[in-house]
Symmetry: C2
Subunit: 351 residues, 2 copies
Amino acid sequence: MKNPYKDLKDVSDVVISTRIRFARNLKEYPFPCRLSEDKKRKVASIIKEAVLEGHSAISDRFKYIQMSELTQEEAVSLVERHLVSPEFISGRQGRGLLLLNDESVSIMINEEDHVRIQVINRGMKLNETYELADKIDTLLDERLDFAFDEKLGYLTQCPTNIGTGMRASLMLHLPALQESGAMGKIAASLSKLGIVIRGLYGENTDPSGAIYQLSNQVTLGITEQEAIKNLHDIAMQLVAQERNTREQLSENINMLDSIYRSYGILSYAKLISNSECMKLLSNVRFGVEMGCFEIDFDTLDRLFIEIQPATLMKNIGKKLTPAERDRIRSELVRTALNTKQIPASRRLENT
Amino acid sequence: MKNPYKDLKDVSDVVISTRIRFARNLKEYPFPCRLSEDKKRKVASIIKEAVLEGHSAISDRFKYIQMSELTQEEAVSLVERHLVSPEFISGRQGRGLLLLNDESVSIMINEEDHVRIQVINRGMKLNETYELADKIDTLLDERLDFAFDEKLGYLTQCPTNIGTGMRASLMLHLPALQESGAMGKIAASLSKLGIVIRGLYGENTDPSGAIYQLSNQVTLGITEQEAIKNLHDIAMQLVAQERNTREQLSENINMLDSIYRSYGILSYAKLISNSECMKLLSNVRFGVEMGCFEIDFDTLDRLFIEIQPATLMKNIGKKLTPAERDRIRSELVRTALNTKQIPASRRLENT
C-alpha cells in the first residue's frame, strides 16, 4: 500500500469531512415546535436580517432560501449535500436557510431550534471548522439575544443539546472495519465514551458506502474544546484501527477482486442504481486507500453526493425517471473516472 | 452496428468453427465395445501404421498419442480443445489419438468406432473442411479395409451413423436468440429437418457462453454433399435470425449494460470462475458482434478454450487448485484483452 500507516497528519484516506453544528434559540420566542407559522416567519426574518445585514465581509456571501419555495428535488438535494437535516425538509413552512456561496456554511432557521449553524470542511479540520462556526455564532450573538442559562449554558429544545449546543462530527470511510464485521462492537464501546457512530445521512440511516458519521454526544458539563479533543482522539484511534485492518486485508485476493471488479463495472456500466453506485464507489475509494488506483479522493467524495437522485436531477436541470437517472448516473461516473465509453481497438497479435 | 446484415460471405460474427467427422470401422474386427484390450491395441497399431507410414506429405505431420499414457489434465484438455469426445477419455485403455501438428485434424482410434476422423476449421468452411476429411479418409481407405455395405454404406456401431458415417457440425454463437428465449422452439423445429442443435461440448452439455453445435442427424439415404448443403442452408437461416434479433436488441439499454459490464469485469477482476468467464466472454463477443468494441473474434474464441480448467493447467504446466485457476484465468483474460492491471493516474481537474 502507498499510504504510510503512521501518517497522522494526512488522514484523508479515512476522514472525508468535518462538521461543526451549533444549536441556538432566541430568548424571547418559544421553540419552533410551539410557534405558529406567523411567528416562525417572524423569527426567520429576525435571523435572516441579523446575518445578511451583519455588515461583516461574510454577510455579503450568504444567500437566503425560503424553504417553502423550493421544489421537492431542490429540497432533497440540500439533504443529499449534507447542508440541511432530513427533518428540516419534512415540513418547510416558516423555515429558512442561509447558505454561504461556497456551501461551507449553512444556517437552518426553525429546524428543531431557531438557529442551527453548520460549518463543513473536507478532511480532518476540527479546529479550523470550529473557529469558523464560532465566528458566525459571535456574529449572530452580537445582534440576537440567545437563550442562555448561567448554569446550564445554551438552552435547546432537545435536552441532549443543552450546554454547548455543539455537535462536532467527522465523516469517516471505514470499509475495512465494516468488511471485518467490527462496526457493531465499535459502536457499542464508543457510546460509553460519549461518542456516537451512525450512517451517512444521520440517525436511522444505513452506513451505505461504508461511510459513517462520528459525533460527540455530551454537550453538558464539558467545554467545546474538550468535546472536540475527545472526538479527535477517538477518531485517530479509529483511523489506526481502520488502517491496521486494511493492512490485514491487503493480501486478501477476494477483497482485491471485489475492488477491481467495482472499478471495472463503474468504468463500463450503462445503468447503475444509487445503492449499487454507493457500494461500488466505496470499493473504489477503498482501492485508492489500498494503493490499487490513483484517483483523488476529491473526485470520489464529490461523486458520492453527485450520484444522489435529487442532486443528479438538480444538476441536469429536469425531472428524470429512475431508469433515466440510472443511465445518467453511469455516464457521470464514467466521465469522472475518465473512462472512454468505447475502448479503442484492442487487437492482439499472439500468433 | 458495424456488421452489414446482408453479408453472407463473412459470417464469423455467428459461425465460430466448422467440423467434419467420419466414422469408419475395420471389416475384419468387431466394434471396439466387443474387443478385448489386446485386440484394441492391435487395431490401434494397424490404424496408426496406416496413417504414419502413409508416405504422403500429411503423414509426417501426425503424431500418435497413446491415451493411457496421458495425465487426467492432458486428456481433459483434449476434450476442452474439441479434439476428442468426452466419451473417448472415460476409458482410455487401448485407445489412441493421431493428431495433426496444427491440431486441425484428429483421428480417434477405438472410440465408439475403430476410426473417427475429425477435421476442424475456424469460421464457416464446410466444403474446405469436408475436402480435407475426405482426403484423409481416402488415405486410410487405400491401406485399410473398411466395413462397407453396398446398400447401407459405411457400417458403424451406432445405427444413427450408418451410411455416410459423416457428421458435419457448425459451432455457432447465438447470444441474441438465447437471450430472446427462442432456442427451445428453434431446436424443436430443426429436429424435423434432420438437424440437431446442442451445447458446446456435445450431447447433454449446457450451451454455456451461448455457443451451440449445429449438426446433421441423417446419414442414411443421403449423400455427404446433400447433408452438407442442408446444414449450410439451415445455418444461414440461423445466421439471419440471430442477426435480426441482434438488431432488435441493439437499442436495449439493459442488454448493452450487461455487455459493457462484462467487459469491465473481465478487464479488472482478479478471480474468475470458468462458468462466469464463459458467460462474460460470450457477452463481450456479443458486444463485438453489436459493434460495441473492436476485438478480433480469434482472440475471444481462443479464450473460450484457454480458460477451461485442464487446458489452463496444461498451458501453465502444473496442477492448480480451483482458487489458483480462478486467479490465473483472470490474468489470462486481462492480458488477452490487453488491459493494464493498474490503471494509470486518472486525476480529474473539474474545479
